[in-house]
Protein backbone atom coordinates (compact mmCIF):
# COMPACT_ATOMS: atom_id res chain seq x y z
CA UNK A 1 0.00 0.00 0.00
CA UNK A 2 2.81 2.32 0.88
CA UNK A 3 4.53 1.95 -2.46
CA UNK A 4 1.28 2.42 -4.26
CA UNK A 5 0.66 5.69 -2.52
CA UNK A 6 4.15 6.86 -3.31
CA UNK A 7 3.66 6.16 -6.98
CA UNK A 8 0.37 7.97 -7.12
CA UNK A 9 1.89 10.79 -5.21
CA UNK A 10 4.72 11.14 -7.70
CA UNK A 11 2.27 11.09 -10.59
CA UNK A 12 -0.03 13.63 -8.99
CA UNK A 13 2.76 16.08 -8.35
CA UNK A 14 3.26 17.60 -11.80
CA UNK A 15 -0.43 17.55 -12.66
CA UNK A 16 -1.43 19.37 -9.52
CA UNK A 17 1.31 21.92 -9.87
CA UNK A 18 0.32 22.57 -13.48
CA UNK A 19 -3.17 23.42 -12.33
CA UNK A 20 -1.71 26.16 -10.21
CA UNK A 21 -0.45 27.85 -13.34
CA UNK A 22 -3.59 29.93 -13.57
CA UNK A 23 -5.74 32.18 -11.47
CA UNK A 24 -5.92 35.92 -10.94
CA UNK A 25 -3.71 35.68 -7.86
CA UNK A 26 -1.18 33.07 -8.90
CA UNK A 27 2.50 34.02 -8.83
CA UNK A 28 3.04 31.57 -11.67
CA UNK A 29 0.69 33.54 -13.93
CA UNK A 30 3.37 36.16 -14.48
CA UNK A 31 2.60 39.62 -15.76
CA UNK A 32 6.07 41.07 -15.42
CA UNK A 33 9.65 40.07 -16.13
CA UNK A 34 10.31 39.83 -12.43
CA UNK A 35 7.41 37.48 -11.76
CA UNK A 36 8.35 35.49 -14.87
CA UNK A 37 11.92 35.09 -13.61
CA UNK A 38 10.66 33.80 -10.29
CA UNK A 39 8.21 31.51 -12.07
CA UNK A 40 11.05 29.92 -14.06
CA UNK A 41 13.09 29.48 -10.89
CA UNK A 42 10.03 27.89 -9.30
CA UNK A 43 9.46 25.41 -12.11
CA UNK A 44 13.09 24.36 -12.17
CA UNK A 45 13.07 23.86 -8.42
CA UNK A 46 9.84 21.88 -8.57
CA UNK A 47 11.28 19.61 -11.21
CA UNK A 48 14.56 19.12 -9.36
CA UNK A 49 12.78 18.54 -6.08
CA UNK A 50 10.48 16.02 -7.73
CA UNK A 51 13.45 14.13 -9.15
CA UNK A 52 15.32 14.14 -5.86
CA UNK A 53 12.25 13.03 -3.93
CA UNK A 54 11.60 10.17 -6.33
CA UNK A 55 15.26 9.17 -6.21
CA UNK A 56 15.37 9.16 -2.41
CA UNK A 57 12.14 7.19 -2.16
CA UNK A 58 13.28 4.73 -4.78
CA UNK A 59 16.53 4.26 -2.95
CA UNK A 60 14.73 3.75 0.34
CA UNK A 61 12.39 1.23 -1.30
CA UNK A 62 15.33 -0.58 -2.86
CA UNK A 63 17.10 -0.63 0.49
CA UNK A 64 14.06 -2.01 2.27
CA UNK A 65 13.70 -4.78 -0.34
CA UNK A 66 17.41 -5.54 -0.44
CA UNK A 67 18.32 -9.22 -0.95
CA UNK A 68 19.58 -11.31 1.91
CA UNK A 69 23.21 -10.43 1.29
CA UNK A 70 24.10 -6.85 2.09
CA UNK A 71 24.67 -4.52 -0.84
CA UNK A 72 28.26 -3.41 -0.53
CA UNK A 73 27.55 0.29 -1.05
CA UNK A 74 25.30 0.45 1.94
CA UNK A 75 27.79 -0.32 4.63
CA UNK A 76 30.32 2.28 3.66
CA UNK A 77 30.46 5.66 5.29
CA UNK A 78 31.90 7.12 2.13
CA UNK A 79 28.66 6.55 0.33
CA UNK A 80 26.70 8.44 2.97
CA UNK A 81 29.20 11.25 2.74
CA UNK A 82 28.97 11.38 -1.04
CA UNK A 83 25.18 11.31 -1.22
CA UNK A 84 24.41 13.24 1.94
CA UNK A 85 27.21 15.79 1.96
CA UNK A 86 28.94 16.26 -1.36
CA UNK A 87 25.86 16.03 -3.58
CA UNK A 88 23.82 18.57 -1.59
CA UNK A 89 26.75 20.97 -1.40
CA UNK A 90 27.24 20.88 -5.17
CA UNK A 91 23.53 21.19 -5.94
CA UNK A 92 22.92 23.91 -3.40
CA UNK A 93 25.95 25.92 -4.50
CA UNK A 94 24.55 26.05 -8.02
CA UNK A 95 21.05 26.87 -6.83
CA UNK A 96 22.32 29.54 -4.46
CA UNK A 97 24.31 31.25 -7.19
CA UNK A 98 21.33 31.25 -9.52
CA UNK A 99 18.96 32.50 -6.83
CA UNK A 100 21.37 35.26 -5.89
CA UNK A 101 21.66 36.40 -9.47
CA UNK A 102 17.86 36.75 -9.58
CA UNK A 103 17.84 38.53 -6.22
CA UNK A 104 20.51 40.93 -7.41
CA UNK A 105 18.93 41.46 -10.81
CA UNK A 106 15.95 43.48 -9.59
CA UNK A 107 17.41 46.55 -8.00
CA UNK A 108 20.79 47.13 -9.55
CA UNK A 109 22.06 50.27 -11.26
CA UNK A 110 21.11 48.88 -14.66
CA UNK A 111 17.38 49.33 -14.18
CA UNK A 112 15.75 52.44 -15.69
CA UNK A 113 14.75 55.29 -13.40
CA UNK A 114 11.18 55.24 -12.12
CA UNK A 115 8.58 57.04 -14.24
CA UNK A 116 6.72 58.12 -11.10
CA UNK A 117 5.97 57.06 -7.56
CA UNK A 118 2.87 55.86 -5.80
CA UNK A 119 2.48 55.88 -2.01
CA UNK A 120 0.48 52.98 -0.68
CA UNK A 121 -0.42 52.83 3.00
CA UNK A 122 -1.89 49.71 4.54
CA UNK A 123 -4.67 50.41 7.01
CA UNK A 124 -6.96 48.05 8.89
CA UNK A 125 -8.33 46.79 6.47
CA UNK A 126 -7.90 48.64 3.17
CA UNK A 127 -5.26 50.27 0.99
CA UNK A 128 -4.82 54.02 0.76
CA UNK A 129 -3.26 54.76 -2.61
CA UNK A 130 -1.78 58.17 -3.37
CA UNK A 131 -0.28 59.06 -6.75
CA UNK A 132 2.64 61.40 -6.35
CA UNK A 133 3.88 64.14 -8.65
CA UNK A 134 7.52 64.60 -9.62
CA UNK A 135 8.09 66.80 -6.56
CA UNK A 136 6.63 64.20 -4.24
CA UNK A 137 3.36 66.05 -3.70
CA UNK A 138 0.08 64.14 -3.77
CA UNK A 139 -1.74 64.33 -7.09
CA UNK A 140 -4.83 62.49 -5.97
CA UNK A 141 -5.80 59.76 -3.59
CA UNK A 142 -7.75 56.61 -4.32
CA UNK A 143 -8.28 53.31 -2.60
CA UNK A 144 -7.83 49.60 -3.17
CA UNK A 145 -6.72 49.88 -6.76
CA UNK A 146 -3.58 50.76 -8.67
CA UNK A 147 -3.34 51.48 -12.36
CA UNK A 148 -0.02 51.35 -14.12
CA UNK A 149 1.22 52.22 -17.58
CA UNK A 150 2.51 49.14 -19.41
CA UNK A 151 6.27 48.78 -19.54
CA UNK A 152 7.10 51.72 -17.31
CA UNK A 153 8.93 51.30 -14.08
CA UNK A 154 6.91 52.60 -11.16
CA UNK A 155 8.12 52.74 -7.58
CA UNK A 156 5.62 52.03 -4.85
CA UNK A 157 6.42 53.43 -1.39
CA UNK A 158 4.89 51.15 1.19
CA UNK A 159 3.97 52.35 4.67
CA UNK A 160 1.53 51.39 7.36
CA UNK A 161 -0.90 53.47 9.36
CA UNK A 162 -1.39 50.97 12.16
CA UNK A 163 -0.09 47.39 12.19
CA UNK A 164 2.10 45.38 9.83
CA UNK A 165 0.56 44.63 6.45
CA UNK A 166 2.16 43.12 3.36
CA UNK A 167 1.68 44.36 -0.18
CA UNK A 168 1.47 41.45 -2.59
CA UNK A 169 0.50 41.33 -6.25
CA UNK A 170 1.64 37.81 -7.14
CA UNK A 171 1.29 38.42 -10.87
CA UNK A 172 3.78 41.28 -10.81
CA UNK A 173 6.25 40.80 -7.96
CA UNK A 174 6.98 39.20 -4.65
CA UNK A 175 5.49 40.68 -1.51
CA UNK A 176 6.95 43.44 0.61
CA UNK A 177 5.83 44.26 4.13
CA UNK A 178 4.40 47.57 5.27
CA UNK A 179 5.84 48.21 8.71
CA UNK A 180 5.13 51.17 10.98
CA UNK A 181 8.17 53.42 11.05
CA UNK A 182 9.59 52.01 7.82
CA UNK A 183 9.21 53.00 4.18
CA UNK A 184 9.82 50.06 1.87
CA UNK A 185 10.02 50.64 -1.83
CA UNK A 186 8.81 48.09 -4.37
CA UNK A 187 9.52 48.65 -8.06
CA UNK A 188 6.77 47.41 -10.39
CA UNK A 189 6.92 47.00 -14.16
CA UNK A 190 3.82 45.54 -15.76
CA UNK A 191 4.79 43.68 -18.91
CA UNK A 192 1.38 43.47 -20.55
CA UNK A 193 -2.15 44.74 -20.29
CA UNK A 194 -4.22 42.99 -17.68
CA UNK A 195 -5.71 43.06 -14.23
CA UNK A 196 -4.14 41.26 -11.28
CA UNK A 197 -5.52 40.70 -7.85
CA UNK A 198 -3.41 41.50 -4.81
CA UNK A 199 -4.04 40.74 -1.18
CA UNK A 200 -2.61 41.56 2.21
CA UNK A 201 -0.17 38.78 3.01
CA UNK A 202 0.76 39.56 6.60
CA UNK A 203 -1.85 38.81 9.22
CA UNK A 204 -3.10 42.20 10.37
CA UNK A 205 -5.90 41.33 12.76
CA UNK A 206 -9.69 41.07 12.34
CA UNK A 207 -10.60 41.34 8.68
CA UNK A 208 -7.16 40.40 7.32
CA UNK A 209 -8.84 37.93 4.97
CA UNK A 210 -10.88 40.72 3.39
CA UNK A 211 -8.13 43.11 2.43
CA UNK A 212 -7.54 42.81 -1.30
CA UNK A 213 -6.99 45.19 -4.18
CA UNK A 214 -6.53 45.17 -7.94
CA UNK A 215 -3.74 46.32 -10.20
CA UNK A 216 -4.57 47.14 -13.77
CA UNK A 217 -1.96 47.76 -16.47
CA UNK A 218 -3.06 50.10 -19.26
CA UNK A 219 -1.48 51.28 -22.51
CA UNK A 220 0.15 54.67 -22.01
CA UNK A 221 -2.63 56.81 -23.61
CA UNK A 222 -5.37 55.11 -21.62
CA UNK A 223 -3.31 55.55 -18.51
CA UNK A 224 -2.82 59.26 -19.13
CA UNK A 225 -6.57 59.67 -19.60
CA UNK A 226 -7.22 57.84 -16.38
CA UNK A 227 -4.73 60.01 -14.51
CA UNK A 228 -6.36 63.18 -15.77
CA UNK A 229 -9.82 61.92 -14.83
CA UNK A 230 -8.69 60.95 -11.37
CA UNK A 231 -7.11 64.34 -10.75
CA UNK A 232 -10.37 66.11 -11.61
CA UNK A 233 -12.98 66.80 -8.92
CA UNK A 234 -16.20 64.84 -8.70
CA UNK A 235 -18.73 65.51 -11.41
CA UNK A 236 -21.81 67.61 -10.62
CA UNK A 237 -24.87 65.31 -10.34
CA UNK A 238 -27.05 65.66 -13.41
CA UNK A 239 -30.36 64.50 -12.00
CA UNK A 240 -32.54 65.00 -8.95
CA UNK A 241 -31.71 61.63 -7.45
CA UNK A 242 -28.01 62.39 -7.62
CA UNK A 243 -28.49 65.77 -6.02
CA UNK A 244 -30.53 64.20 -3.27
CA UNK A 245 -27.86 61.57 -2.72
CA UNK A 246 -25.15 64.17 -2.47
CA UNK A 247 -27.19 66.25 -0.04
CA UNK A 248 -27.75 63.20 2.15
CA UNK A 249 -24.05 62.37 2.03
CA UNK A 250 -23.11 65.83 3.17
CA UNK A 251 -25.88 66.07 5.76
CA UNK A 252 -25.23 62.78 7.47
CA UNK A 253 -21.66 63.19 8.53
CA UNK A 254 -20.13 61.00 5.81
CA UNK A 255 -17.67 63.79 5.08
CA UNK A 256 -16.16 63.36 8.51
CA UNK A 257 -14.30 60.35 7.23
CA UNK A 258 -14.55 60.52 3.45
CA UNK A 259 -13.43 63.15 1.00
CA UNK A 260 -15.20 63.87 -2.26
CA UNK A 261 -13.21 66.52 -4.04
CA UNK A 262 -15.46 69.25 -5.35
CA UNK A 263 -17.77 69.03 -2.32
CA UNK A 264 -17.24 70.17 1.28
CA UNK A 265 -16.60 66.54 2.27
CA UNK A 266 -12.91 66.37 3.09
CA UNK A 267 -12.46 63.63 5.71
CA UNK A 268 -9.22 61.71 5.54
CA UNK A 269 -10.01 58.78 7.80
CA UNK A 270 -11.66 56.55 5.23
CA UNK A 271 -11.05 56.18 1.51
CA UNK A 272 -11.30 59.20 -0.80
CA UNK A 273 -14.58 58.62 -2.66
CA UNK A 274 -14.13 61.23 -5.41
CA UNK A 275 -14.18 58.56 -8.13
CA UNK A 276 -15.46 55.61 -6.17
CA UNK A 277 -17.90 54.60 -8.90
CA UNK A 278 -15.04 53.96 -11.30
CA UNK A 279 -13.19 51.53 -9.04
CA UNK A 280 -13.64 47.84 -9.66
CA UNK A 281 -14.44 46.96 -6.04
CA UNK A 282 -15.65 48.35 -2.76
CA UNK A 283 -14.68 47.19 0.72
CA UNK A 284 -11.08 46.41 -0.40
CA UNK A 285 -11.80 43.79 -3.02
CA UNK A 286 -14.89 42.57 -1.24
CA UNK A 287 -17.69 43.34 -3.70
CA UNK A 288 -18.01 44.73 -7.22
CA UNK A 289 -18.90 48.42 -7.31
CA UNK A 290 -22.62 48.58 -8.04
CA UNK A 291 -25.56 50.51 -6.73
CA UNK A 292 -26.84 47.52 -4.80
CA UNK A 293 -23.54 46.60 -3.18
CA UNK A 294 -22.94 50.24 -2.25
CA UNK A 295 -26.34 50.39 -0.57
CA UNK A 296 -25.77 47.17 1.32
CA UNK A 297 -22.37 48.38 2.42
CA UNK A 298 -23.68 51.73 3.71
CA UNK A 299 -26.47 50.21 5.77
CA UNK A 300 -24.35 47.62 7.54
CA UNK A 301 -20.72 47.31 6.49
CA UNK A 302 -19.89 45.24 9.56
CA UNK A 303 -22.18 42.51 8.34
CA UNK A 304 -20.23 42.22 5.10
CA UNK A 305 -16.82 42.78 6.67
CA UNK A 306 -16.71 42.11 10.40
CA UNK A 307 -14.84 44.62 12.56
CA UNK A 308 -14.72 47.17 9.75
CA UNK A 309 -14.09 50.66 11.08
CA UNK A 310 -17.02 52.29 9.25
CA UNK A 311 -20.11 52.54 11.46
CA UNK A 312 -23.46 51.32 10.10
CA UNK A 313 -26.01 53.79 8.76
CA UNK A 314 -29.39 52.20 9.39
CA UNK A 315 -30.87 55.71 9.16
CA UNK A 316 -30.83 55.41 5.40
CA UNK A 317 -33.86 53.63 4.03
CA UNK A 318 -35.80 53.30 0.81
CA UNK A 319 -35.54 56.32 -1.45
CA UNK A 320 -32.79 57.92 0.59
CA UNK A 321 -30.58 54.86 0.39
CA UNK A 322 -31.18 54.45 -3.32
CA UNK A 323 -30.32 58.08 -3.95
CA UNK A 324 -27.14 57.92 -1.93
CA UNK A 325 -25.98 54.73 -3.63
CA UNK A 326 -26.87 56.09 -7.04
CA UNK A 327 -24.86 59.24 -6.47
CA UNK A 328 -21.82 57.30 -5.27
CA UNK A 329 -22.06 54.97 -8.24
CA UNK A 330 -22.15 57.97 -10.54
CA UNK A 331 -18.78 59.21 -9.22
CA UNK A 332 -16.70 57.65 -11.98
Amino acid sequence: MRRHTFTRFAEALPAAVLAACSGPQSPLDAGSDEAAGIAILSWVMFAAAGLILVAVLALAAAAARAPAEQPRWATREGWVVAAGLVFPIVMLSALLAWGLSITGGGGGASSPPAAFRIAVAGEQWWWRVTYLGPDGSALFSTANELRLPIGQRVEVDLTSADVIHSFWVPGLAGKLDMIPGHVNTLPLVAGRAGTWRGQCAEYCGGAHALMAFTVTALPAPDFERWMAAQAAPAAEPDNAEGRRGRALFLASGCGACHAVRGTPASGTIGPDLTHVGGRPTIGAGLLPTQRGTLAAWIVDPGHLKPEVRMPPFPVFRGEDLRALAAWLESLR
Binding site: I89, L100, S101, G104, G107, G108, T185
Partner: protein
Protein backbone atom coordinates in the same frame (compact mmCIF):
# COMPACT_ATOMS: atom_id res chain seq x y z
CA UNK B 1 38.48 21.52 38.10
CA UNK B 2 39.16 17.84 37.61
CA UNK B 3 41.48 16.74 34.80
CA UNK B 4 38.61 14.98 33.09
CA UNK B 5 36.51 18.16 33.14
CA UNK B 6 39.40 20.13 31.71
CA UNK B 7 39.58 17.69 28.83
CA UNK B 8 35.86 18.08 28.37
CA UNK B 9 36.09 21.83 28.01
CA UNK B 10 39.18 21.85 25.80
CA UNK B 11 37.49 19.34 23.50
CA UNK B 12 34.40 21.50 23.47
CA UNK B 13 36.48 24.48 22.41
CA UNK B 14 38.18 22.59 19.57
CA UNK B 15 34.89 21.24 18.27
CA UNK B 16 33.19 24.59 18.58
CA UNK B 17 35.95 26.62 16.91
CA UNK B 18 34.75 26.16 13.31
CA UNK B 19 31.09 26.90 13.95
CA UNK B 20 32.06 29.80 16.20
CA UNK B 21 34.07 31.26 13.34
CA UNK B 22 31.08 30.83 11.04
CA UNK B 23 28.74 32.45 13.59
CA UNK B 24 31.10 35.37 14.12
CA UNK B 25 31.43 35.82 10.35
CA UNK B 26 27.67 35.78 9.82
CA UNK B 27 27.07 38.17 12.70
CA UNK B 28 29.74 40.55 11.47
CA UNK B 29 28.75 40.64 7.81
CA UNK B 30 25.11 41.08 8.80
CA UNK B 31 25.92 43.79 11.33
CA UNK B 32 28.23 45.67 8.98
CA UNK B 33 25.65 45.62 6.18
CA UNK B 34 22.81 46.65 8.48
CA UNK B 35 24.70 49.57 9.98
CA UNK B 36 26.22 50.66 6.66
CA UNK B 37 22.81 50.70 4.95
CA UNK B 38 21.05 52.37 7.89
CA UNK B 39 23.69 55.11 7.94
CA UNK B 40 23.85 55.59 4.18
CA UNK B 41 27.35 54.21 3.86
CA UNK B 42 26.50 51.31 1.54
CA UNK B 43 29.83 51.54 -0.27
CA UNK B 44 31.68 50.28 2.79
CA UNK B 45 29.65 47.10 3.02
CA UNK B 46 30.85 45.06 0.03
CA UNK B 47 34.63 45.36 0.54
CA UNK B 48 34.27 44.69 4.26
CA UNK B 49 32.20 41.60 3.59
CA UNK B 50 34.78 40.32 1.11
CA UNK B 51 37.58 40.91 3.59
CA UNK B 52 35.73 39.26 6.45
CA UNK B 53 34.82 36.28 4.30
CA UNK B 54 38.39 35.71 3.18
CA UNK B 55 39.68 35.98 6.73
CA UNK B 56 37.03 33.65 8.13
CA UNK B 57 37.51 31.14 5.32
CA UNK B 58 41.26 31.10 5.91
CA UNK B 59 40.65 30.58 9.61
CA UNK B 60 38.27 27.69 9.02
CA UNK B 61 40.67 26.13 6.52
CA UNK B 62 43.49 26.38 9.01
CA UNK B 63 41.41 24.59 11.66
CA UNK B 64 40.59 21.81 9.21
CA UNK B 65 44.26 21.38 8.37
CA UNK B 66 45.40 21.42 11.99
CA UNK B 67 42.81 18.90 13.15
CA UNK B 68 43.53 16.56 10.23
CA UNK B 69 47.22 16.66 11.11
CA UNK B 70 46.38 15.93 14.73
CA UNK B 71 44.18 13.02 13.72
CA UNK B 72 47.02 11.53 11.67
CA UNK B 73 49.49 12.11 14.50
CA UNK B 74 47.98 9.62 16.90
CA UNK B 75 44.93 7.65 17.96
CA UNK B 76 44.28 9.64 21.15
CA UNK B 77 41.51 12.14 20.63
CA UNK B 78 40.92 11.11 17.02
CA UNK B 79 37.21 11.48 17.56
CA UNK B 80 37.56 15.06 18.75
CA UNK B 81 39.75 15.81 15.75
CA UNK B 82 37.22 14.28 13.41
CA UNK B 83 34.40 16.40 14.81
CA UNK B 84 36.51 19.52 14.91
CA UNK B 85 37.76 19.05 11.35
CA UNK B 86 34.38 18.10 9.90
CA UNK B 87 32.54 20.94 11.59
CA UNK B 88 35.21 23.39 10.52
CA UNK B 89 34.91 22.03 6.98
CA UNK B 90 31.16 22.50 6.99
CA UNK B 91 31.67 25.95 8.46
CA UNK B 92 34.09 26.72 5.65
CA UNK B 93 31.40 25.88 3.09
CA UNK B 94 28.85 27.96 5.00
CA UNK B 95 31.25 30.90 5.23
CA UNK B 96 31.96 30.80 1.50
CA UNK B 97 28.23 30.60 0.79
CA UNK B 98 27.58 33.55 3.05
CA UNK B 99 30.25 35.53 1.22
CA UNK B 100 28.94 34.58 -2.22
CA UNK B 101 26.10 37.17 -2.35
CA UNK B 102 28.56 40.06 -2.60
CA UNK B 103 29.29 38.93 -6.14
CA UNK B 104 25.65 39.17 -7.22
CA UNK B 105 23.80 41.55 -4.95
CA UNK B 106 24.42 45.24 -4.37
CA UNK B 107 24.62 46.20 -0.71
CA UNK B 108 21.73 48.56 -0.15
CA UNK B 109 18.70 49.38 -2.27
Amino acid sequence: MAETDRRFFSGLLRIGAGPALWAAHLGLVYGVTAVACARGAGGVAAPTVVGLTLAAALGAGWIVGRELRRARAGPAGTRTSFFAAALAGLSLVAILWAGLPVVFVSACP
